[in-house]
C-alpha cells in the first residue's frame, strides 16, 4: 500500500513539475507582452528626456522593446536582459541606479535623513517638556536697550 502511495505521489510530482516547466516555457503572448512592458519600464529611452522605453515612440525605443521581446523568447531572465543593455549603454540606461555602491547612498539617504531629523526633533521635544521650565521673567532693558528705546521714541514723536 505504501509503495503504491509513494509511487502515485512521485508520478503526480513529476506531472506537476512538467506542467510547471511547460507553462514557464510556453508563455502566452499576453504574458510576454506584459513582461516586455515591465522590463521596458525599467530602461530609459536613450533619445528622450525623462521617459522610459515603454512610453516612448522613438525608433531606438521600439528597437529596444523588440530586442527585449526576442531575448525573453530565448528564455533570458530579466537580470540578463538588464545586464545586456548595461554592457552596451552603461548604467545610465537604467532608470534608477542599482541599490549598490553609490546608488545605495541615493536610495537610503531620504528615509535615513527623515528618521534622523525626526528623532532629533522628538528627542529635543522630550527634553524641553520634561525639564521644569523656569517662570519667564519680564525682560528689562539694559542700558543699550534703554538708549535705543529713547532714540526710537524721539524719532516717533518727531513724526518720522
Amino acid at each position: 500500500m505504501r509503495r503504491t502511495t509513494a509511487g502515485l505521489i512521485a508520478i503526480l510530482a513529476c506531472v506537476a513539475a512538467a506542467l510547471a516547466a511547460g507553462s514557464a516555457w510556453a508563455m502566452s503572448e499576453q504574458e510576454l507582452d506584459q513582461r516586455v512592458l515591465e522590463i521596458s519600464d525599467q530602461l530609459r529611452c536613450p533619445t528622450c528626456q525623462a521617459i522610459s522605453v515603454k512610453d516612448s515612440e522613438a525608433a531606438f525605443s521600439r528597437q529596444i522593446r523588440d530586442k527585449v521581446r526576442s531575448m525573453l523568447r530565448e528564455g533570458k531572465t530579466e537580470e540578463e536582459i538588464r545586464a545586456y543593455f548595461v554592457s552596451s549603454y552603461g548604467e545610465w540606461i537604467l532608470r534608477a541606479p542599482k541599490k549598490e555602491g553609490v546608488g545605495l547612498l541615493l536610495w537610503s539617504l531620504p528615509f535615513a535623513a527623515i528618521v534622523l531629523a525626526g528623532g532629533l526633533i522628538a528627542w529635543r521635544l522630550r527634553r524641553a517638556t520634561q525639564k521644569p521650565r523656569p517662570e519667564p521673567t519680564p525682560a528689562t532693558p539694559d542700558d543699550a536697550g534703554k538708549a535705543r528705546i529713547e532714540r526710537d521714541l524721539r524719532r516717533f514723536e518727531r513724526g518720522f
Binding site: 543593455f85 548595461v86 554592457s87 552596451s88 552603461g90
Partner: protein, 183 residues
C-alpha cells in the same frame, strides 16, 4: 564672528551645492560615456549596400577600423561624410593602414544609397537590420557616432557627434602605434 556650528554647517552645505553645479558647467549633460571603450568590439556580419560582398568584422583583425554609424535622415552626417571619405582615400586605399566602414541605422536602402552618392561615400557601406541589433550592441543613442577599433579588435575611442579631421588623424595615429600617419 558667528560661533554657531549650525551656521558653518549651512555654509558648508551651500558651498557643496554651488560647487557641484559649478562642476556641472564643465561636463556635457548630453554626453554619455561608453562602457565599451577598452572592450572587444561587438562582432557583426553585414552585406554591402547595393548587393555584393559580405563583411565580417572579426576578419578585419590586424587592421584598425573606423566604424561610423550614420543615416540618410541625419543632418550632421552630411559634413562628416566628406571627412570620412578623405580618411578612406588617404589611409585606407593608399596605404591600407585603416579600414573605414559605414553602417546606416533605421534607414532604407534607396535613401541610404542616394545619400552616399550625393555626399560622396565610396567606402564599405551597409545597412543595420530592421531590429537594429548592431546599433543596440554598440549602445547607440544617436547618429553620427564613430568607433575607432584597433588592430586587436578592441574599441579604442568613441566619437559622439560628427568627426573632425584633427580627431580622425589623432585616432589613426594612436591606433597605428609607431607608424606615423601621413597628413
Amino acid at each position: 564672528m558667528i560661533r554657531s556650528w549650525k551656521f558653518w554647517l549651512v555654509l558648508a552645505g551651500i558651498a557643496v551645492v554651488v560647487g557641484l553645479f559649478a562642476y556641472g558647467f564643465t561636463v556635457d549633460p548630453k554626453l554619455v560615456q561608453s562602457p565599451l571603450i577598452g572592450k572587444p568590439a561587438p562582432d557583426f556580419t553585414v552585406t554591402r549596400l547595393g548587393g555584393g560582398e559580405t563583411l565580417h568584422l572579426a576578419e578585419l583583425r590586424g587592421t584598425p577600423v573606423i566604424l561610423n554609424f550614420w543615416a540618410s535622415w541625419c543632418v550632421a552626417c552630411r559634413d562628416e561624410a566628406a571627412l570620412l571619405e578623405k580618411a578612406h582615400r588617404r589611409y585606407g586605399l593608399e596605404s591600407g593602414d585603416v579600414r573605414v566602414i559605414g553602417i546606416a541605422i533605421q534607414d532604407r536602402p534607396e535613401a541610404a544609397r542616394a545619400f552616399a552618392e550625393r555626399y560622396g561615400k565610396t567606402y564599405f557601406l551597409a545597412l543595420d537590420g530592421e531590429a537594429g541589433d548592431i546599433a543596440l550592441n554598440y549602445g547607440l543613442y544617436g547618429v553620427p557616432e564613430t568607433f575607432f577599433i584597433d588592430r586587436d579588435g578592441v574599441i579604442h575611442h568613441k566619437q559622439v557627434g560628427p568627426v573632425t579631421w584633427e580627431g580622425l588623424v589623432t585616432q589613426v595615429n594612436a591606433m597605428a602605434g609607431q607608424q606615423q600617419a601621413k597628413r
